[in-house]
């Protein structure tokens, strides 16, 4: 499926950092991360990384009860962990960052439709393949001009996942490739409404998103073959051998065949891979049927509201709690640090002024995503591995401190210089003058934009999903993908954001009104 790492900011920055600070050369794992087998043995737990936004049938939230993760890879991870005498614990991570998170030590294995490809072996170890599948082309049913062969896709708009084998096949064939960062259903939705002429994706995705749509048609035949493997930390030969052994046992005793059959995923490619052991004839594709029943036919809106949405509320509530917690913590840091920076810039000696100005320009002038990536993925290369929440808090707080410092500066410069002079001639020290005379007047100017910043921070906090935190936006994207419902759930998540931001907007107006009472300058 969505294969090889997108050549995005994450990788770019890792490589930049790695080039400058190569403390841990080819090993990939930051210093202090133990071998995976030792970690699994010590904790009795195998943490495995996957992205539930990827959707069915890999790892996704059960559309009937999104509080549970299901998928054939969930079952596979559990079977694998059992073989290693451990429990399986899923860890959410952005799909195109899974290998970085793995190297960082956030989980012991990455197991989420990771394509076995040579270029990947430079940064991780790969197990033997556990599943193989064809690339399948899907077109609109009855579209006479639809491309139905690899030759025909030349010059046509074809949708797929970024960095995948399918994308490379399409590029070689001269298609106009359109890639998607969201869930798979977006890709097929665009095909149905005519934004693309075809979709090329791995067979499992085609079965779960393309084949179930009566408006679409899967072109017979294979357009390429792909195999999935489990990724382990670079150099961890012991764990790779153990996973290979466990997968071999699962293939030999029929567990894998049975598992794939339940999910409706059994195919010739996998049969060949597993040595021809077909699933027993009594195994029914119950998991696939449950998916079809849940999302095959879109339910009317009010039915969804009544039957499906109540179960999403705990998921949204957990996301909202994370959003609120990280936003409040980050804002507290931004307010305090911003004050130090602003005062340093306004009243400090020149080196402090210079530092403060540099800080503001640096943090205002570079994308938050890059700052977050450097804190989370970059610092471990220097031996500092932060907890995801701490990394998110730090990156958001440091970034917004620059914005707050600018607010305070605007506030300070709105107070006429004569006010400070007057305070000084009365004998007040600079500090006393700031605290009692300039500060209260500056606050009136600085507080309303600071509240706006907080509301902006609530929304920017969605970026912490790249460091494995599942906040409100990530909760929505995951749910929308597994329940195939963007509009209704979108309205619901918007409601949650409003519930979070409206109290602060009201608070801002209240403060403004209160502080503004005696501050119109008539002199």
């Amino acid at each position: 499926m969505k294969m090889w790492l997108k050549a995005g900011v994450l990788l770019l920055f890792l490589q930049l950092l790695a080039a400058t600070a190569r403390a841990t050369p080819a090993e990939g794992a930051p210093p202090g991360v133990p071998g995976a087998m030792r970690a699994i043995h010590d904790k009795g737990e195998m943490r495995w990384g996957g992205d539930s936004q990827g959707g069915a049938p890999y790892v996704f939230q059960d559309p009937m009860d999104p509080n549970h993760l299901i998928g054939f890879e969930v079952d596979l991870a559990e079977a694998l962990a059992k073989r290693l005498s451990a429990r399986a614990r899923p860890v959410q991570g952005q799909w195109d960052g899974l290998l970085e998170l793995l190297a960082r030590g956030d989980f012991e294995v990455a197991l989420n439709g990771i394509e076995i490809a040579d270029e990947k072996r430079r940064i991780c170890e790969l197990s033997r393949p556990y599943y193989a599948a064809a690339e399948k082309l899907t077109v609109r049913r009855g579209d006479a001009s639809a491309p139905r062969s690899l030759e025909a896709v030349k010059g046509r708009r074809v949708g797929t996942l970024p960095g995948s084998l399918a994308a490379r096949i399409l590029e070689r064939a001269g298609a106009e490739v359109k890639t998607y960062d969201g869930g798979q259903n977006d890709i097929y939705d665009d095909l149905r409404i005519g934004r693309t002429d075809a979709v090329l994706l791995d067979d499992p995705i085609t079965r779960y998103y393309g084949a179930i749509d009566p408006a679409l048609e899967v072109v017979p035949g294979s357009f390429g073959e792909i195999a999935y493997g489990v990724a382990l930390r670079k150099g961890d030969v012991e764990a790779t051998a153990a996973v290979d052994r466990a997968l071999g046992e699962l293939a030999a005793d029929g567990t894998l065949a049975r598992l794939y059959a339940r999910w409706g995923l059994w195919n010739d490619e996998t049969a060949k891979l597993l040595g021809g052991a077909a699933p027993a004839s009594d195994v029914t594709p119950d998991a696939y049927d449950a998916w079809r029943a849940a999302v095959g036919k879109p339910l009317p809106f009010w039915t969804r509201v009544r039957e499906r949405y109540p179960a999403t509320l705990p998921v949204f509530a957990r996301g909202a709690a994370m959003t609120l917690a990280i936003s409040l913590a980050s804002m507290a840091l931004a307010v305090a640090l911003g004050l130090v920076v602003a005062l340093g810039r306004a009243y400090g000696p020149w080196p402090v002024k210079w530092l403060a100005t540099g800080y503001i320009e640096l943090f205002r002038g570079t994308p938050l995503l890059i700052q977050l990536t450097m804190v989370y993925f970059g610092l471990p290369e220097l031996g500092l591995t932060l907890h995801p929440f701490v990394a998110g808090w730090l990156a958001l707080g440091l970034n917004y401190a620059a914005a707050e410092a600018e607010n305070y500066r605007a506030g300070l410069s709105s107070v006429p210089a004569g006010q400070l002079d007057a305070a000084r001639t009365l004998g007040l020290t600079t500090w006393q003058a700031l605290r009692h005379v300039v500060g209260p007047q500056a606050a009136r100017v600085a507080i309303p934009p600071a509240t706006n910043d907080f509301i902006a921070l609530l929304k920017d906090s969605s970026l912490v999903s790249v460091v494995t935190l599942t906040e409100l936006t990530k909760s929505y994207v995951n749910l929308a993908s597994s329940m195939r419902d963007h509009l209704g759930l979108g309205a619901l998540v918007a409601l949650f954001y409003l519930l979070l931001s409206l109290p602060f907007a009201r608070f801002a107006r209240w403060v403004e009104g209160r502080m503004g009472q005696h501050l119109r300058r008539a002199a």
Partner: protein, 248 residues
């Protein structure tokens, strides 16, 4: 409570052009002195140096037995004038009342913060001063609600709350209606009666003539002519004085 300024020199921090060039003044306790002069004669520089907002390069100021010498850095200058803190007050041209504080709090902030006075002590003094200046009913008002003349008297009360020996005024009549100018003279005399030395920097010759015991005409950073109003205005020997009187 006299103030004595000896050979004060000061150049502009940016340009280095001399602003004060050996300026000397001697004002006895309880007197009202008016400092006149064209723009650029050094009046504002003199005020800022006296209250410690700017440091001066050479010379000295002596107030009430405390002497400050010029020549230090800006910061040292400020520390030096901290010794004078409260001994010299300034009433700003634009008053610079604290808009977020009530009239009473404007007057009590500095005594409480700087002298560490108990609030009740500061408030009692502030109320007495406001009463004397005809503002007894305004203690709860905020500056935005006051007229120009009222603001000026609050600024005076605020400065007096620190119990200064010397009170300076920067252009005290420029922001006032002509009808209020006489009131300024009355206020000056009321305060003079308490023994406080007052220096007004002004363009306003009638006010200087009415209210001042002593006139200093500044020209190019020095005292060009000084004496009683009768002496100075009666015999404008120096061209600068003559130019002021002719309104040129």
């Amino acid at each position: 409570m006299s103030i004595r300024i000896v050979e004060m020199e000061k150049s502009h921090p940016g340009t280095g052009a001399p602003a004060l060039r050996g300026l000397s003044m001697d004002i006895a306790g309880g007197q009202v002195a008016a400092v006149l002069g064209r723009s650029g004669a050094g009046k504002t520089t003199l005020l800022r140096c006296l209250v410690g907002l700017d440091a001066f390069d050479r010379g000295s100021i002596e107030v009430d037995g405390v002497t400050i010498h010029g020549g230090g850095s800006e910061r040292e200058g400020r520390l030096a004038t901290a010794k004078l803190a409260g001994k010299i007050g300034l009433v700003f041209q634009s008053f610079e009342l604290f808009p977020h504080l009530s009239v009473l709090d404007n007057c009590t902030l500095a005594p409480i913060q700087v002298k560490g006075e108990h609030r009740s002590v500061s408030e009692a003094r502030a109320r007495r001063l406001l009463e004397q200046l005809g503002l007894g009913d305004k203690e709860k008002a905020y500056p935005e609600a006051l007229s120009g003349g009222q603001k000026q008297r609050v600024a005076i009360a605020r400065a007096l709350s620190m119990e200064p020996r010397v009170l300076l005024y920067d252009e005290p009549t420029s922001a006032l209606d002509p009808s209020l100018k006489q009131e300024v003279g009355r206020t000056l005399r009321t305060i003079a009666a308490t023994g406080i030395t007052q220096v007004i920097v002004t363009h306003d010759i009638p006010v200087a003539r009415d209210a001042a015991d002593l006139i200093f005409v500044l020209d190019k950073g020095r005292v060009a002519q000084s004496g009683s109003p009768a002496e100075v205005f009666g015999r404008p020997d120096h061209p600068a004085t003559a130019a002021l009187l002719s309104g040129a």
